[in-house]
Symmetry: C2
Subunit: 349 residues, 2 copies
DNA sequence: TTTAGCACTCCGGGAAAGTGAGTGCTAAAC
DNA sequence: GTTTAGCACTCACTTTCCCGGAGTGCTAAA
């Protein structure tokens, strides 16, 4: 059953007023805000209906009205005006994304901080990739007879490297053999198969080479597994404390702890479009039951996507947050698009 | 003027009781805790003296006593019993330091989280190194004609690498020339001199090689500067909210914001031993004026030291925190000592 | 269907009063 | 001189009570 236009307009006013003030909104205020075309008594009748229908709630008998999650949902879906970013804001976003291309994690972390301080709510960020990460190419660079550098290029074109200290001296002439072995047998396979593969090739080479090989492979496995698993970082949790709904230390603590160590259970958009909003009880995690989350995703390249989420009270300024967040998402897509380097022939598996 | 033994004992009881309860301590409680050898009236006389001398404070006329910073200082210097870690605790610390040797930053961050959750206060971590970071060795690995991998080993033996996308095609045969150039002219000099040096060698090579060279050098400069500047990470800020002194959202917010973005102004021990305690107003930063900080440092190797700090209310459990923190510091020293790999002949400059 | 009017509800703040932990002082005991 | 018991006093904290005001729901008129 559709709401009348007037009811919708009233709902909109209630939501927007409540978002600003965090105080229940009374009929008189609404009447004023609607330009005096109707009296407060009329509004009261409408309000009673809206409560009846579940779009609004009344903290107690003689208080104003507060939007319910259902109310927010309707607001977000139909009533909210999609905001455009001002030039100034776009400018600011781009400025905060003037990042040197460093390691991916660091870029994301920095962007996360920028997002959080730009929307004034805590933010979290992570990445998702459909394909399993594999090694694309190995190199071994001799340093001295007791150590060498492993370089591994991964299927997402990131390059990782580390100094390895060898248990045994290795003949430098034999390094090419190892490199061939690595590139021949250990590329394009998922990390969990690498140890098996290691057994397969064990007989083909002399034992002292095998030691270095297994050290290298073990490093590769670690790296791939670590880079492949989604890490969630959060930023700006302290922003919560400015909000009246989190002045209660217990509430704030609960949510902040949740944000601090939830690595897995933060909401992620699996399927649909670039933007998603979860309101209050729509969240699965208990800790988020009376908060809202706005999420956006962006392209990183190589079939990876990045994800930004913003957490706030249900009384969140959805319009502004959504606008700014998608501004950031666009900015990040552009950032990674520009710096996206490599050809990626071999990522089929 | 020295305090009598009894005064000291009373001070100790007050501090330890207050640390536990966060409530002003009364004469009766003290008398009881001292085994009834003296009456509460006697204690009251002593307390009055201790207030007079500035070791204790009285929130208001008819309240119990609370230690002043001066009182805590005496406690920390003389009265506090150096705690030993229980086997169980040592075990836990070691367990939480079972880290794979990954990138330094990540290891430190992880250790920071462990520290924080082990002492139940926020922790911050950073590194300090006396010498300027330089490049020790370069390598270029061709990928295809439009891209190659730069590998740079730094003077602290860390290895960084990245895929570079080339603006111009480069003849693979010429890479060795570049590598020689890099290793000959750009090692063991601080990053800020690299651009000058780049000018110096400009004439020696053909222009299209120069482009790749300058790209590589620019990457090297970025890397060195970034790795050389101390980054401060914080963990467990939410722990604050459990403490009665931070139930006030404004106070908590102030300190948490300070921790979140203070990259420079957190206290660092410059000189002295492995452990340092700053109490309340002994801190320089305003935001820390009524908090205390316990710091420890540990060896990373290659003339770098790591630093762990713990922030809490002046009413901090100094004995326990100090013990656990130094447990961690030892653990980390051992961790880095074990995995310390390389020979370091060339770090002289 | 809208509006004005009115009695009613209930939150929030502030004053008043009671409670109790703890003190400082005095005078006696050791 | 030091310690102790006794006692009146102080002051934060809690509870209770009261009141104003914002906002409601209902009714009756427009």
């Amino acid at each position: 059953m559709e709401l009348t236009d007037r009811k919708k307009q009233i709902l909109k006013v209630v939501v927007e007023d409540y978002i600003q003030t965090a105080e229940p909104v009374g009929s008189k205020t609404i009447a004023a805000e609607m330009g005096g075309s109707v009296s407060s008594a009329t509004i009261r009748n409408e309000l009673a209906d809206l409560v009846e229908l579940g779009y609004l709630e009344q903290p107690h008998t003689s208080a104003g009205r507060v939007p319910s999650p259902k109310g927010y949902r309707l607001y977000v879906n139909e009533l909210m005006e999609r905001q455009k970013l001002s030039l100034d804001e776009t400018e600011k976003i781009n400025q905060s994304l003037q990042l040197k291309m460093e390691e991916l994690d660091r870029v994301i972390a920095q962007a996360g901080r920028a997002v959080s301080s730009f929307v004034n709510y805590p933010a979290y960020m992570t990445t998702v990739g459909k394909k399993k990460l594999t090694a694309r190419r190995f190199e071994l660079l001799p340093v001295d007879e007791r150590s060498c550098i492993v370089v591994m290029m991964m299927s997402d074109s990131r390059v990782k490297s580390q100094l390895l200290h060898l248990q045994l001296k290795v003949d430098l002439d034999q390094l090419p053999i190892l490199i061939n072995l690595l590139n021949g047998h250990f590329t394009a396979i998922p990390p969990n198969e690498m140890n098996e593969r290691l057994m397969d090739v064990a007989e083909q080479i002399p034992p002292q080479l095998f030691l270095l090989l297994s050290q290298t492979v073990s490093y590769a496995v670690d790296m791939l597994e670590e880079a492949g698993q989604r890490e969630v970082i959060t930023a700006g949790a302290n922003q919560l404390l400015k909000l009246p709904e989190f002045r209660d230390a217990d509430k704030a603590h609960e949510l902040m702890s949740f944000l601090a160590d939830s690595k897995e259970n933060l909401p992620m958009p699996e399927d649909d479009g670039p933007m998603k909003i979860l309101i209050g009880p729509e969240n699965v995690s208990d800790a988020l039951k009376d908060t809202s989350v706005v999420m956006a995703s962006y392209d990183i390249g190589d079939d990876m996507r990045g994800l930004i989420g913003v957490v706030g009270p249900t009384r969140m300024d959805y319009a502004t947050v959504a606008a700014r967040l998608s501004g950031f998402a666009d900015g990040l897509t552009r950032l990674f698009g520009k710096q996206e380097l490599p050809p990626k022939e071999d990522t089929k598996e």
